[in-house]
């Protein structure tokens, strides 16, 4: 190696020099070289299409007519005048908020149970997480059977207990309802809770485990009961995590496509239809691309306020380290 470097001007020397300058270039700009692929990918696959959708919502795009005409806000006034769409907005808000509230209570309670130092907590924690990893298509298929008129064990149980006389169709009942609160919608929310609460358990449990044990010991000495400890110590200390999880889950559930589409495809008569499913139907069943784009832009703007809060809270943490 030394000999060749003495021998000036050989190709080998140029080669090592190139290697050296390459490695110093890599060393200098490594932070950029490592982050750029992700930024480019996100821009190409997520941001650029989003901007195109926003642009498309100002145009009238028809399948057979190649000419696109600029229509301004006409698409938006058209969708907002449509009473069906207003109902779907109501459905989406009810669906996401009801799922969120029920899941939060269930997940807080489950995490509290799993946080106690009793036998089997690892096993139960694993079992509780199983719904979350279930493929949504399978979730839809199984719950369709659980809710069906002819094969439902839930109906079967209610009949054995004498609560109902003949099997009911949970997802097909259109008789009873109050606004977005209908039997199919409640059934859908239960399925969605089933699918989403495990993720929240993991978040809450991680937060609870970081609460120092001596706080509880001190509280016990002061005569604070178990319930009091939960409200006075656990809850305030895990609140930052709860807030971030709730914001993230609200946005995810507001944008949720799988639960409604794979269980009921939005039916019966739009009772369980949510905005994400509506966009999909308008775009790929009715081929109304500009209407679909406008609805998705509307979705984006409704979820914008919680999104900003979420980003703000995360950024405060992320920039620190």
């Amino acid at each position: 190696m030394n000999k060749t470097s003495v021998n000036k001007g050989t190709p080998l020397r140029a080669d090592t020099q190139f290697k050296k300058s390459l490695s110093s270039f890599l060393d200098r700009y490594i932070s950029y070289i490592l982050i750029l692929p992700v930024l480019l990918c996100i821009t190409a696959v997520i941001l650029y299409p989003s901007i195109r959708t926003i642009a498309m919502s100002f145009y009238r795009v028809e399948l057979l007519n190649p000419e696109r005409s600029f229509v301004g806000l006409e698409n938006f006034s058209e969708i907002l005048k449509n009473p069906d769409l207003l109902r779907i907005i109501g459905n989406t808000l009810f669906f996401s908020l009801a799922s969120l509230v029920i899941s939060t209570i269930l997940a807080l309670y489950s995490a509290q149970l799993l946080n106690k130092p009793y036998w089997g907590r690892g096993l139960y924690r694993t079992l509780f997480l199983v719904p979350w990893i279930t493929p949504p298509v399978v979730m839809g298929a199984v719950w369709k059977v659980l809710y069906s008129e002819s094969f439902s064990p839930i109906s079967g149980l209610l009949m054995t207990l004498g609560i109902i006389e003949k099997p009911i169709s949970f997802l097909g009942n259109t008789e009873w309802g109050f606004g977005p609160v209908t039997l199919p919608m409640i059934s859908l929310v239960i399925v969605n809770v089933w699918h989403m609460f495990p993720f929240m358990v993991v978040m809450f449990l991680a937060a609870m485990q970081s609460v120092p044990k001596d706080y509880y010991e001190a509280a016990t000495v002061d005569g604070l009961g178990k319930t009091g400890q939960f409200y006075k110590i656990t809850l305030p200390l895990i609140m930052p995590v709860v807030e971030i999880t709730l914001l993230l889950e609200f946005i995810w559930q507001f944008n949720n496509f799988n639960s409604s589409y794979l269980l009921t495809q939005g039916g019966p008569v739009d009772m369980t239809n949510v905005l994400a499913v509506k966009v999909y139907q308008e775009a790929f069943i009715n081929y109304k691309y500009s209407i679909a784009s406008s609805i998705s832009v509307l979705m984006f703007f409704i979820a914008l306020i919680p999104s900003i809060f979420y980003i703000k809270m995360r950024v405060q943490n992320e920039f620190k380290n």
Partner: protein
């Protein structure tokens, strides 16, 4: 005091079991229905356990739909997605956790916001982009969609993993020994971060395996369909009819690979999830 503790313990396990029943009953029903003999399917109220195990359903389901092809496609898409996503996320996560530079904060905001954009908002232009590039009905298009939608969460997961568990001191001493930064990444940082990388990989794999919406739009040719779309088409064809035991068998087959992976690696995944969603 002692009796109180006993009751408390009994109540504790009673509640845990109630939640476990809620979480797992659909799985019980899926399995029981998949092995029920035909004469039991139609009984009202339904039978709670099968009178005999009808394993023939599992063979039938392979004959009436191209399940092996679907399985193969799902496997290809999920593995490719996992590899690409983990690679991108490792690099970006490492960069964000170790270096301070001009566009770092902008990058974090960009990654966080892309996590919140509704998928349906980008699907129409993305579909047309894929049509123009002739990448619909190909592994490339779908893997692109899957891996890049999974990247934001995975990047944050790994960024927080690197910041909290990877000791800076080791890297600093390697740097004093004259190791280049890129060498430190590949020879030191990544090898000792295997648990975090495994967590990210399982997350990406599950996401890709379970996904339905993108595949249903981008892959219209049944040769390219993954399990999720294949099964959904199959159910749509029959509806909730006496063939219900067949599509429960298909559901069991779809879920099994995910359950196996999860069973072996759940510890890693559980500790990684909190990193991705909340930690700073």
């Amino acid at each position: 005091m002692k009796t109180k503790n006993k009751w408390e313990l009994a109540f504790h396990y009673f509640m845990l079991n109630c939640i476990a029943v809620f979480a797992l009953f659909p799985y019980y029903w899926m399995f029981v229905t998949s092995v029920k003999p035909a004469e039991q399917i139609l009984s009202i109220p339904p039978a709670w356990w099968p009178s005999r195990l009808e394993l023939k359903n599992y063979l039938t389901v392979f004959n009436i739909m191209p399940l092996l092809g679907y399985l193969k496609n799902s496997m290809i898409y999920s593995v490719l997605t996992t590899v690409i996503c983990v690679m991108l996320a490792c690099f970006a996560g490492y960069s964000l956790s170790r270096f301070r530079y001009k566009i770092r904060n902008t990058s974090i905001v960009l990654i966080l916001s892309s996590q919140l954009i509704p998928g349906v908002m980008t699907i129409i232009p993305f579909y047309f982009m894929m049509l123009d590039l002739k990448l619909n009905n190909s592994a490339v298009g779908i893997v692109m969609a899957y891996s890049i939608w999974a990247v934001p969460f995975c990047t944050l997961m790994l960024k927080n993993y690197f910041s909290s568990t990877l000791p800076v001191e080791i890297e600093e001493s390697a740097m004093i020994d004259g190791c280049s930064k890129i060498k430190i990444l590949f020879k030191i940082a990544l090898p000792i971060s295997i648990p975090g990388i495994i967590a990210t990989a399982i997350f990406a794999f599950i996401l890709a395996w379970n996904e339905y919406m993108w595949a249903s739009i981008i892959l219209s040719d049944s040769k390219f369909k993954p399990l999720s779309v294949g099964i959904h088409d199959f159910i749509g064809q029959f509806g909730v009819t006496p063939s219900v035991s067949l599509f429960m068998a298909a559901s069991v087959i779809t879920t099994l690979p995910i359950l196996i992976i999860f069973g072996f690696l759940q510890k890693h995944l559980i500790s990684g999830l909190a990193d991705g969603a909340i930690k700073g």
